[in-house]
């Protein structure tokens, strides 16, 4: 192998010009790439689930339309909301049910709040 010292020296002068902070800049770009990848996979999964759900609904409607006599839309059209007179809503009989419903609603909100709080803490601890 020829050493060609002069040629080697001329080539090496340019070879050692890697700028300061290059590694950090590339790693920052890599982190952005990782984030982009995870966002992309989240949206593709969401798209896939939406597509499959819509396909299932379309399939059900098609089968129902082609092979059965009844129609879902007629079924929904036949549903009527009961008419409630405002004066008769709060009676001695309905009051305990209303109180119980409010209790359940507050409890649910409280549990959802706790769930949200712990999820945030978990996310923060994972990030740090």
């Amino acid at each position: 192998m020829k050493t060609d010292k002069a040629l080697q020296n001329a080539l090496r002068r340019k070879a050692n010009e890697l700028p300061y902070g290059f590694e950090n800049r590339v790693m920052r770009q890599i982190m952005l790439e990782v984030e982009r990848k995870s966002r992309l996979s989240y949206y593709s999964a969401l798209g896939l689930v939406s597509f499959v759900s819509l396909a299932l609904i379309a399939g059900v409607l098609f089968v129902q339309n082609a092979y059965f006599d009844f129609n879902f839309l007629d079924l929904f059209a036949s549903i009527r909301m009961p008419s409630i007179e405002s004066a008769s809503v709060l009676t001695d009989q309905t009051r305990p049910i209303l109180a119980f419903s409010i209790y359940i609603a507050v409890l649910m909100l409280f549990l959802l709040g706790i769930d949200y709080f712990f999820r945030q803490r978990f996310r923060k601890s994972r990030k740090s």
Binding site: A6, L11, A15, L18, F22, E23
Partner: protein, 184 residues
């Protein structure tokens, strides 16, 4: 982590340990930059392209099957990235006819390229290298700066081993012809 083998390093990155990529980066950033820098000439472009090379490598790492060494694979990405950039610029490179190559004795080439030079001579050599074609620049960078064997250089530049050897021989002669041309 610094002592991980290539295969372990790749597996670690593919398993989601992104920080392992910094080990790969530390190992290869200088040689990859040296190759790109020599091909594209401009310092800023070289830095940006080297960055692109590593981002491409990160994106395609799962397609690396281990048919060649990781360094060869990275050099191939670097070569393809840099050559695409130079093609956009449509530069014109000096050509010499066969007689000029034939009339230049190998001994003269050896003598010019072997002797330890002064600063002025090094600058002239740098200028001559600058005027070479990208493939020739890549060839001499890989051979002289990175000490790669001809078989590996052939793989990186997508040439046959015999062709690589001939091109290296002609490139050495071409550098001397460029130096002579400049002196006139």
């Amino acid at each position: 982590m610094e002592n991980l083998t290539e295969q372990d390093l790749i597996q670690s990155i593919l398993d989601g340990n992104t920080q392992s990529f910094s080990v790969l980066l530390k190992r290869y950033q200088r040689p990859i930059h040296a190759l790109v820098r020599q091909i594209v000439s401009n310092r800023e472009d070289a830095e940006e392209l080297t960055q692109d090379v590593f981002i491409k490598a990160f994106r395609k790492l799962d397609s690396f099957k281990g048919g060649s060494s990781l360094s060869t694979w990275l050099y191939r990405i670097a070569w393809n990235t840099a050559i695409s950039e130079t093609r956009k610029k449509r530069l014109i490179y000096p050509e010499f006819d066969e007689n000029q190559f034939a009339n230049l004795p190998d001994e003269t080439v050896d003598e010019v390229l072997e002797k330890e030079n002064d600063e002025l001579q090094l600058l002239r050599l740098e200028k001559a290298i600058e005027r070479l074609q990208p493939e020739e620049k890549a060839l001499i960078t890989l051979y002289y700066t990175e000490s790669k064997p001809l078989a590996e250089i052939a793989l990186i530049l997508n040439l046959s081993a015999e062709n690589t050897k001939v091109k290296l021989h002609r490139t050495r002669k071409k550098i001397v012809l460029l130096l002579n041309n400049e002196q006139r």
